[in-house]
């Protein structure tokens, strides 16, 4: 387990260096002055600029500049937004939790629905349910998400009037920002309208999260199906059959667990895909997350924001990657180290 952890740590450090280097080099790639892009100080006076240049080692060797940039990052200083003049770090702290909330709920929906359906398809391999599930999953995988979002609003918000179309919660509820994860904040607040707010927030997240979840769900269906087929084909299932266990006993006790382990392995990779979808969905459902903010930043040529947002989002994805690796290792004894060898 120690070696496993060290290896992940090593990977994490490497990735962190890669990502910061990428974000640092962006300030040179973006149009305009690198120092301005890095700090966001667009209206700095010559004296202020000189001070900033000193701070960021702007006239030294590139490695020193990078190091100066890193030190600023560690101090939580991502520069200020060119458009709103607010510190990027505080913007990220405000927005990232919303994105995390949306994507985690979507991931949960995608897995909770996709994996059982995938198993169902595998159990009915090459029968009608299998074919139907495969076809529907192909459909779900092919729908452009922004279009799906629009249709969902049209049907569920306008025609049926069941679900709200925009935002995280109705603005009538005033929720203090504590953790940023709204459900926690609501539970932590002492408002008399707590449960109303909770219900309202739940209604708000259903549609965007489901829209985000559709495509990953179809992928989970496929993954779960393949994985289950592989497991059902393996000798320990035959052996279990020979042991005299019934079909459902085998499914519950052995097949689900083993195929689930294989599916979990892919969660990390799917998460990047899911966050991409969440970015577009945030635009459609006016979800106050980091994706929408990033896209707006492009229109406003807010390069500092793009750099910070990219760094924050990709680090988040990578942390989820590593987390799933650990969960996978916890579930799958094969991925851990051998305790007492042959």
């Amino acid at each position: 387990m120690l070696v496993f952890t060290l290896r992940r740590l090593n990977l994490f450090i490497f990735t962190f260096i890669m990502l910061t280097a990428l974000s640092f080099s962006l300030s040179f790639l973006f149009p305009g002055d690198a120092l301005t892009n890095l700090t966001g100080q667009i209206n700095a006076s010559p004296e202020q600029r000189a001070l900033l240049a000193e701070e960021y080692q702007y006239n030294s060797h590139i490695i020193k500049q990078y190091w100066a940039y890193l030190t600023h990052l560690f101090d939580g200083d991502f520069g200020i937004s060119i458009a709103s003049h607010l510190p990027i770090s505080s913007e990220i702290m405000n927005l990232l939790p919303a994105t995390i909330e949306l994507s985690v709920v979507a991931l949960f929906i995608a897995m909770a629905i996709g994996i059982p359906i995938g198993f169902l398809a595998a159990i009915n391999h090459e029968k009608i349910p299998d074919q139907a599930i495969l076809f529907v999953s192909m459909l779900g995988y092919s729908i452009p998400i922004f279009w799906l979002g629009l249709l969902a609003i049209l049907i569920f918000s306008i025609q049926l009037g069941w679900l709200p179309s925009a935002g995280r919660i109705s603005l009538v509820y005033e929720i203090k920002h504590i953790t940023g994860i709204q459900f926690f904040d609501i539970l932590l607040s002492d408002s008399e309208y707590k449960w109303q707010a909770f219900q309202n927030a739940t209604l708000h997240i259903i549609m965007p999260a489901s829209v985000v979840a559709i495509a990953p769900m179809t992928i989970f269906i496929r993954l779960a199906r393949t994985s289950m087929l592989e497991v059902l084909d393996s000798s320990y299932i035959t052996a279990a059959k020979a042991k005299g266990l019934t079909f459902w006993q085998i499914i519950y006790r052995h097949a689900i667990r083993n195929s689930l382990v294989n599916v979990i392995r892919h969660v990390g990779l799917q998460f990047a895909n899911l966050v991409t979808l969440a970015m577009v969905t945030e635009v459609i459902f006016s979800w106050p997350g980091i994706g929408r903010w990033l896209i707006e930043s492009i229109f406003q040529r807010d390069y500092t924001a793009i750099q910070g947002g990219l760094l924050a989002l990709s680090s988040f994805i990578f942390i989820v990657h590593i987390l799933t690796d650990f969960i996978y290792a916890a579930l799958n004894p094969l991925a851990r180290d051998r305790k007492h060898g042959a």
């Binding site: 035959t238 020979a242 083993n258 094969l334």
Partner: protein, 329 residues
């Protein structure tokens, strides 16, 4: 009384519009308390036959037999569920590559406990858990594993192949079976370990009067451990008899070739003389010859061999050949 009586069992797969007969009208009779060998090259349908008996074959295989009696019950007349119930109660099976036959994500202990039949436990439900555990430990002891705590806590990949096979046997014993089918239990194992497993099987056979159907391609070991042997080739029954009969007076040309290719036989061979072997190789399922499937390779083949031969019984020594070697001895 015959424990198992199988007549003309065929296993068929439909591939497209073609019908592939993987096992072609094989018969097998086993007596109670017998340790019987089933020999054949890989691909001869031994494993299929074993899996057909225990009923764990894939759905793509269609099994059909003229007679399938288990301790006098005609199993063919029962529904699949009933058949399974009887068989899983009385017959157990162990497989080749025991490691892959154990669930990699579950500890040995859990898997063992799961194999213990509920009916064997006498206590109330809150006592059952403990009883199960005890039963599992007893089983481990039975197969000669002393360090039971370490073993039950381990995952399959943390044990050696031989240990895994012992665990498999322990699991098989959990239901107190009457017949144990061992499908190449020692494949890919070192010879010292092989010996351990065989010894264990033999002692179980003798001490508990448990019948064993030992499947292997390794004729030498079979000669050592079994009393009677059945030989198969490419899904067809070839010859059956006592071990001695098979080794000293094989009636079938294939059996003869098989016996001659063992190192045991080659000890008597002149130095530098050719090792005997049949020409060609075992045919693949898609291109099975008609009639006697050994036909194209058989040194004694004649025109009559395009028809499948009928089995002939010579005082318990059964052979299925048009031109048997019986008269040459």
């Amino acid at each position: 009384m015959n424990l198992l009586d199988i007549r003309n069992l065929s296993i068929v797969m439909l591939s497209g519009n073609k019908k592939i007969v993987a096992v072609d009208r094989v018969s097998l009779v086993m007596k109670e308390g017998e340790l019987r060998g089933l020999v054949g090259e890989s691909g001869s349908g031994k494993s299929l036959l074993a899996q057909a008996i225990i009923g764990v074959l894939d759905e793509k295989w269609i099994v059909d037999a003229d007679r399938f009696h288990w301790r006098g019950n005609d199993l063919m007349r029962l529904s699949i569920a009933e058949r399974k119930k009887i068989i899983s109660k009385d017959i157990a099976m162990i497989f080749q590559e025991p490691m892959s036959c154990l669930d990699p994500t579950t500890t040995i202990g859990e898997q063992l406990e799961e194999a213990v039949d509920d009916k064997q436990l006498t206590g109330f439900f809150w006592q059952k858990k403990k009883q199960r555990k005890l039963a599992a430990i007893t089983l481990l002891h039975k197969v000669g594993i002393k360090k039971h705590t370490e073993c039950t806590r381990s995952y399959p990949h943390q044990l050696t192949e031989a240990l895994c096979q012992r665990v498999m046997i322990a699991m098989a014993l959990a239901r107190r079976p009457i017949l144990l089918i061992a499908d190449e239990p020692t494949a890919a194992m070192e010879s010292t370990n092989q010996g351990q497993i065989f010894r264990l099987l033999a002692s179980l056979n003798q001490l508990k009067n448990m019948s064993v159907l030992l499947i292997s391609h390794d004729l030498e070991n079979m000669a050592h451990w079994t009393k009677r042997i059945t030989v198969m080739y490419s899904g067809q029954f070839v010859e059956a008899g006592t071990t001695e009969q098979i080794f000293t007076t094989p009636f079938h040309p294939y059996t003869k070739a098989l016996v001659e290719s063992t190192s045991h036989a080659s000890l008597t061979l002149e130095p530098k003389s050719k090792l005997s072997a049949l020409p060609g190789s075992i045919p693949i399922l898609q291109h099975l010859p008609i009639g006697c499937r050994l036909g194209p390779r058989c040194p004694r083949a004649q025109q009559a061999c395009v028809n499948a031969p009928k089995a002939k019984n010579y005082h318990g020594h059964i052979v299925s050949c048009h031109y048997s070697l019986k008269d040459t001895y």
